[in-house]
Symmetry: C2
Subunit: 217 residues, 2 copies
């Protein structure tokens, strides 16, 4: 396969939307979440997020990256003010509705209602979960870090609560996201389904990795 090699600096001359599309694709596949918050004034907010990543298992931390100059600002404001948020994986069947939450709805409009999602409230957790999601996490704000490079905000959340399908958990703790049929995404607007290839055993120097047994995947 013949690849073209370019210095990234040539992109400075590209149209800004072309450049944004291209560079947003380079990091690769991303998870697809709906981030739920509730303001101090009890207004629910829901926004699609792909910049979510694992930070640690014990204690359990996730990171969420925010660009403060976008529609995500309501989510970040609510997290700062209330200390809580939810992350809800998006099923393949709901990617269009999830994408719709990125629109700039008015302050008094709820993305839940406008985009066709059902908030789960009154669970004792401040922020709303998404009924349509097969894997939901409730998190508390732990740490806010500013990335100096471009003023991006990294929110570190501690997982407090997990809603999951018990039958999707294998006997070694692996949670099978293929069974849940949740989507992933790339770039700014592209959505994908996934198909399992394999799990492998713990990597050792002197032999090739071996696929794990079928009942673990």
């Amino acid at each position: 396969m013949e690849l073209k090699a370019i210095p990234a600096s040539v992109a400075q001359n590209w149209p800004s939307r072309y450049r944004a599309q291209f560079f947003n694709c380079l990091s690769g596949f991303k998870p697809l979440h709906l981030l739920g918050t509730k303001s101090k004034e009890n207004q629910n907010n829901l926004a699609v997020f792909s910049q979510v990543f694992h930070i640690g298992a014990n204690p359990p931390y996730l990171g969420v990256l925010f660009r403060p100059d976008t529609v995500e600002r309501h989510s970040l404001k609510n997290i700062r003010e209330t200390g809580f948020f939810t992350l809800n994986h998006v099923p393949v069947s709901h990617v269009e509705q999830a994408h719709h939450t990125a629109a700039k709805f008015a302050d008094n409009e709820s993305e839940f209602e406008k985009c066709g999602f059902t908030p789960i409230m009154n669970t004792g957790f401040w922020a709303p979960f998404v009924e349509e999601s097969p894997l939901r996490l409730g998190l508390s704000l732990h740490e806010i870090i500013e990335i100096k490079a471009n003023n991006t905000i990294l929110v570190v959340g501690k997982i407090e609560e997990i809603h999951f399908l018990e039958s999707a958990v294998k006997k070694d703790g692996y949670l099978d996201l293929n069974t849940l049929n949740v989507a992933c995404c790339t770039g700014m607007d592209a959505y994908h389904a996934t198909e399992k290839i394999s799990r492998f055993n713990y990597a050792e120097t002197d032999k090739k990795p071996e696929p794990l047994a079928h009942n673990l995947f």
Copy 2:
């Protein structure tokens, strides 16, 4: 779908590997990269990484999350000492070999040779690229941030060079990773292929998202 809801605190009583598997899966799908470095002493190093994410398009930044207590330490040391690294997307055909790079090879062994990858050197870029990868990025170290929650290290890299398949770039700048047939992953050891669902137009409040034309996806 009936979900089980648990407080995350119950996981403190789980066996540590079970807990690690479970929580590593919760953030969702991750990209799959081979991170290439070269030490000051000219020793090539290659390690599989999934904790890679987009930080910004202009200037182009990526983040890579490191746990300093693992085999990843060679990569981090080399980045700190030389200032350069590469990220190379892994084709579906090479996930077993990529997984193998996680083994604790001796200091004088090269993961390239042991795991069946070909380094591209003498390109004028300090760190080696991976020949078998259909999308390769050369980065310089821009910023190192410690996440206090668990001493995880976030390396912010600036994209300096890009090796890509020109025919996989659509006319609006979107880079089609499905065509490149690169893998994604979940948890600690699970690998997946992807299948496109759709791209959607810019989200607007008063209408549902519309799929983009076929030639853009």
